[in-house]
Structures are given as structure tokens and as C-alpha cells.
Amino acid sequence: MTRRAYIGVAVLLAIACVLPFVVSNYRTFQLTLVLVYAIALLGLNILTGYNGQISLGHGAFYAIGAYSAAVLMDRLGAPYWATLPAAGAVCLVAGFLFGLPALRLEGLYLALATFALGVSMPQLLKYHHLEKWTGGVQGIVIAKPEPPAFLREAGLQMNSDQWLYFFALAVAVVMFVLGWNLLRGRVGRALIAIRDQHIAAEAMGINSALYKSLAFGVSAMYTGIAGALGAIAVQYVAPDSFTIFLSLVFLVGIVVGGLASISGALYGALFIQFVPNVADEISKAAPWAIFGLFLIAFVYLMPAGVAGAVRMLLVRLKQKGAK
């Protein structure tokens, strides 16, 4: 990354740290959700953007992560911060196990397999034999985490919304840094090679099967951690929160944000969090239709996503500067 980029990220982080103290609790809650979705979208982007494996069912991993957190907190009394690594581990394994047989499927057929996973998840969550754990159709209500004692002793006054925001921010920074490291190194190059020219990649010695399954696993892990964080923020999980539409919204998010782009995850998260609200303000008669029009407009104007458009803009500015 160039020095300018480092400065840009530092400024962004600084703003992010100040925000919860200047905006209302409700906005802080919304921003927490943006961070949650950004982590989920980065996960999906690793699989679909960088590795070219289309997933129409990532909402299922989000759900698994969310329910892992809920079950651990509500049924087993675990502290909220411990649920994140647990959810990540469960989803890593689940994603890898799903990715293994999925190796045999390509393109549309893989899309169907992931679609099937996304569609089945609410049914599985409602299944009455699992009701003791999942709460069935009634779902599970989770307690809200309080800011830890050491903060109060240090004199920092924070309410639980702000604390949750900073917790999410910390997790997001860690996940993004990990992802950035992963993707700009050998692994990232291998993933992209497999996406673009998989025969050549195999000929060069890249173990395509291993990388593809790992991509599934890591991608699911990211989305699962996001799901756990989301469950803690909303304090409630129910099958209705994780329908196939969630998976489709995630796909929309990475496309609008920018495929194969880390910043794209953040742009996409902002889009899927705020644009539906804007559509609702415009028309109550058919808000979905307005949302659809927004989608078409974004794809027309920015076919490479917001990240692609920003990149082009920066290039153009640099060219102008060079003159």
C-alpha cells in the first residue's frame, strides 16, 4: 500500500473512533450493523470475488454463526466475546466441509448448491427436533453486553451501544487486516489465478482443490463471525432473520461495493444498510421497487462497483496531477 493509502486508512479509523461520541445511540447501532455487514461481505468477496466461486447461500453461514453465538450465550452461559471465535471455528469447518463436495460443481450448478443451502437454513432452524437448542420459530433472545469494568475504572464513560460499536470495530479491523494480508500474498494470487485461469494455475502447481475448499472455509468463517456479532448487536435470532433474501442481499452488497476488493466490502455494507431505508422514505407503496431501481442505477453507473469507480477516479486525479 502506498503512503497515501496508509494515511487514508488512519484518517478513516480516527473518524470511526470519534463517531459514536458525536452521533446518537441509534446511529451508533446502525454503524455497528454496517461493520457487521462489512465483515460478512469481505467473507463473501473472498469466495466469490477473489476466487470466482459463486455463492447464493452465504446467509446460511451468517445464520450458523448467529445461532452459535445465541446458543452459547443463552443455553450455555458463555460470555459474548467468546462466542466469536467459537462461531468462526464452527463456520470454518462447515464451510470447508461444504466446499469439498462443491469442488465438483461449477458455475450455475455451484450456485444452485449454495442456493439450496440458503433456502434450507430456515427450515432446519425451525425443525422441531432441534427446538430445544434453536428455540424453533420463537427464536432466542440474547442479553445485551455491558461495557467491561476496567473501562469504568479507567474513567471512560461508555454506554453499551458505544461499547458494542468499539467491540465490532476492533473485530472488523482485525478481520480486515488478516484478510488484506491473506489476499495480497501468495494465497490471494493463487485464488485469483484459480478464478481466471484454473487450468494454467493447476499446471503451475497450485493445489486448486485445497485452495478452493479453504476459500470456502475462510469465507464461511468470516461470515460466521459477522453473524455472531450481528446476533449480539440485535440481541435476537429467529429463522425469519435468515431467509434466502439475506443471501441475495449479501450478493448485491459485494457487487455494488466492488468485487475482489477489500474496500468494496465497506461500500457494500453501507449500501445494504442504508439504501433500503432511503427507498422506504421515498415510497411506502412499493419500497422494494425503489430499491430495485437503485440497484439498476448503481450497476449501470458503476459496473465495477463503488470500489471500481473510486479506483478509476483516483487514477484520473493522479493523471491530472501528473500533468
Binding site: S24, N25, Y26, R27, F29, Q30, L33, V119, Q123, K126, G136, V137, Q138, G139, V141, G230, V234, Q235, Y236, A238, P239, D240, S241, T243, F245, L246, P276, N277, A279, D280, K284, A285, A286, P287, W288, F291
Partner: protein
């Protein structure tokens, strides 16, 4: 001179000291001299968007109220947001209503999962979660959740009434149940089982579910016929209930059919199913059915029709949700009228919990609204009725808990 001054001074002193002498205006956030802000979330988009028409009806109703001068001189500012039937979105929108829009209370939020998601929050913030739009039984819990109140008769109560009727009329039966695989369907099933008591396991020979994504319930009806059931409890939303009624008839299965209250409209369910195929169906109801000819000249129904034509012309008159929305909005209007100038959240709950035999003319005769400090279920009574091929014939007494 002195003699006259003393009584006057005494009167003045008494007037200034007594609190009731001055106009008592008490406001919580969301209420003022000019307006009352009410919050709501409804699924205007997403798979449950059919129910968004309730929010549109309520919006139209309060627009009419405002056109006619408001309530106690105050305009109603009804703020409704789309939650797409997704609990995280409901949480976000309700927090916006309470923390940013500063509404006085939240009214008719729709859906059991959506309301469960905000249940704790509303009670912690001490903001009324009033007349929630779901038939689940858990909203009647004033001891633990004093700020949450339901409105419509709950599903379990209705199912228990059917169970009682079955036990009284046909004690030796095999019951087959078709239910939607969500909280609504499962609540009805539970109510039926509770109502049958220890006979439930023997009497219910088949419990068959369907998903909203299923194109038809034909397979389920065939399963029910194969189970040998001679009583059919049809717990489906309008489309699926109609499919079930039609298919049962077409395959020659003739059970005694109990239809759930959500799908009793003649225009929206029985006519598509086939009126001749619906003869003998038993249900309970608390609202008048616009498409039932017996109410064609009923002044209350005609007034509602006029309201719809003027304020919500895009609304379908055959959609029972629109009559539902109108009736619950009028209930709220009554509560707010009772509040007078004391528009605190506490008083709103108090007035909502002080309705004694209130009757709104779009309810069936005999159905009234009653609440108290330990009864947070406004409408608990329903009327049994049977379809005779043309209209719903009420029978028996108004039943309730």
C-alpha cells in the same frame, strides 16, 4: 370591605392550591399541544408484504381523523417504517422511532418475531408497545411486560374453542391438521392440543405442515385423507386455505372442517375455493366480513367502505386486513380520547388497560373490548359461525376466556 375580601382571597388561595383547578397538560416525548407522534413498523416489502396494507389503512385512517380536527384538538402524526418482516430491521426502525423520532408510543408493530425482537427493549425504555399485530398469546403478560399489549383474539384461545366444540359435538373423531410451519401455525396447533387435553394424542391422527414457499398443499391434503381423519383443522393463510378447501372437495374427502380465523373472508378465500365446496365450514370471527351479503346494508360497513373509497382507494375491499386495520385504529382513537390532556406514556398504557366493554361497530355483535390491570388481551371473545353456501351463519353464544 374587609368582609368581602376575605372570602375572595380564600377562594383564590383555594383555586391556586388545588391541582385540578388548572388545565392539566402532561406530556411525554412525542406529545404536545399540536400533535401526538405514533410509531409503527410494517412489512411493506419482502415476502410478507401482503400485510403492509394494514399500515396503509391505519395511515389513511389517521389522515381522516386529522382532516376532521384530530383527537382533542391534536393532530396524529403516524410514522410508519418498513421492516421487511426481518427482526434486525424491526429493531433498527423501532429504535429510530423511539430514539430519533421521539414517538410517544409504538402501535401495531406486525409479526411475532418482529415483536419478540423489540419486546425487552420497549419495556426497558418504558415506551408502550401497543396493540401488537399478532395473535400470539405471549403479549398478555402485564406482570413481566407491563408496557406490551396485544389486541386481536389470540390463536391458542381460538383453537381451544374449536377443541371444545369437537369434544362436545363429536367426541369420537380423528383429527387431521394442516398448518403453516411458523409461529402462527404452531400456535394454533398447540392451542388445539391444549384444548383436547389428554385426548389429543389419540384424536389427532395427522399433523401436516407446509411452507410459504410451497406452490400447492395438494400433497398435504392427500396425506390427510390417507390418514383417515374425519375432522380437518385448516390452519392456512388465505391462499393455502383456499387451495386446501378446494382440493379436499375434489378428492372426495368430506371431513368436518374448522377454518382458522385469518382466512374466513368469503370474497378472498371461499369464492376462489368454490362456494359449494365450502359448505359446512366452521370458524370463529370477531370482525364483520365485507364480502358477506348479510352486512351489505350495515351502516358500519358502509361507513368503512366510504372511508376506503375516499382515503385508501387503492386498498382492496375484499382484503380483511383493511377492515382489521380500521378497527384497531379506532380502538387507539378511543384510548387517546380517554387520555385527554394527560399524554404521558404511563397514562396511555393506563387508558389502554381501562377499556370496559367497548364496542366498535365493525366488530361482530356481542364482541367487545375489555382490559384491566391484569388483563392485557383487549379482544378475547369470538363468535362461532358456519358457512351455508352463501353467508356465515352465527351460532351459539359469543365465547371467550
Amino acid at each position: 370591605m374587609k368582609r368581602k375580601l376575605v372570602p375572595i382571597a380564600a377562594l383564590l388561595a383555594a383555586a391556586l392550591a388545588s391541582p385540578t383547578a388548572l388545565a392539566q397538560k402532561k406530556y411525554d416525548p412525542g406529545a404536545s399541544d399540536a400533535e401526538i407522534r405514533i410509531g409503527n413498523t410494517n412489512p411493506y416489502s419482502g415476502p410478507a408484504s401482503a400485510y403492509g396494507t394494514i399500515g396503509k389503512t391505519i395511515t389513511a385512517y389517521f389522515k381522516m381523523v386529522d382532516d376532521q380536527g384530530g383527537i382533542n384538538g391534536r393532530k396524529i402524526n403516524f410514522i410508519s417504517y418498513d421492516d421487511a418482516y426481518s427482526p434486525p430491521k424491526t429493531v433498527e426502525m423501532v429504535r429510530k422511532l423511539v430514539e430519533q423520532d421521539n414517538v410517544l408510543f409504538v402501535f401495531q408493530t406486525l409479526g411475532t418475531p418482529s415483536n419478540t425482537a423489540i419486546h425487552k427493549y420497549m419495556n426497558m425504555k418504558k415506551v408502550p408497545q401497543l396493540h401488537v399485530a399478532t395473535g400470539a398469546s405471549k403479549w398478555n403478560d402485564p406482570k413481566n411486560f407491563p408496557w406490551t399489549m396485544g389486541w386481536q383474539p389470540n390463536y391458542q384461545t381460538e383453537a381451544r374453542i374449536y377443541a371444545k366444540h369437537i369434544l362436545q359435538t363429536k367426541p369420537d373423531v380423528k383429527i387431521g391438521v394442516l398448518y403453516q410451519n411458523d409461529d402462527y401455525g404452531k400456535d394454533y396447533l398447540k392451542g388445539l392440543k391444549d384444548g383436547l387435553g389428554d385426548k389429543a394424542a389419540k384424536m389427532i391422527v395427522a399433523e401436516v405442515s407446509y411452507e410459504v414457499s410451497d406452490p400447492t398443499v395438494d400433497s398435504q391434503i392427500v396425506q390427510l385423507q390417507a390418514s383417515g381423519a374425519n375432522v380437518f383443522f385448516n390452519v392456512g393463510t388465505p391462499k393455502f386455505a383456499a387451495q386446501a378447501i378446494r382440493k379436499a372437495y375434489d378428492i372426495g374427502w368430506k371431513p368436518v372442517q374448522y377454518l382458522n380465523n385469518v382466512s374466513t373472508s368469503i370474497g378472498a378465500v371461499l369464492t376462489p375455493a368454490g362456494l359449494e365446496k365450502s359448505v359446512g365450514i366452521i370458524t370463529t370471527a370477531y370482525l364483520k366480513d365485507y364480502s358477506d351479503a348479510q352486512w351489505a346494508n350495515d351502516p358500519a360497513v358502509k361507513k368503512w367502505e366510504g372511508f376506503m373509497k375516499k382515503y385508501y382507494p387503492a386498498g382492496d375491499l375484499n382484503d380483511v386486513s383493511n377492515l382489521y386495520g380500521y378497527t384497531v385504529a379506532r380502538t387507539l382513537e378511543q384510548v387517546l380520547k380517554q387520555c385527554g390532556d394527560n399524554l404521558t406514556r404511563e397514562n396511555v398504557m393506563k387508558q389502554a388497560a381501562s377499556m370496559k366493554g367497548q364496542y366498535i361497530d365493525t366488530l361482530l355483535p356481542g364482541i367487545t373490548i375489555t382490559t384491566s390491570d391484569n388483563d392485557y388481551a383487549p379482544i378475547e371473545s369470538v363468535q362461532m359461525q358456519r358457512f351455508n353456501g352463501k353467508r356465515w351463519e352465527r351460532f351459539g353464544e359469543v365465547m371467550g376466556n
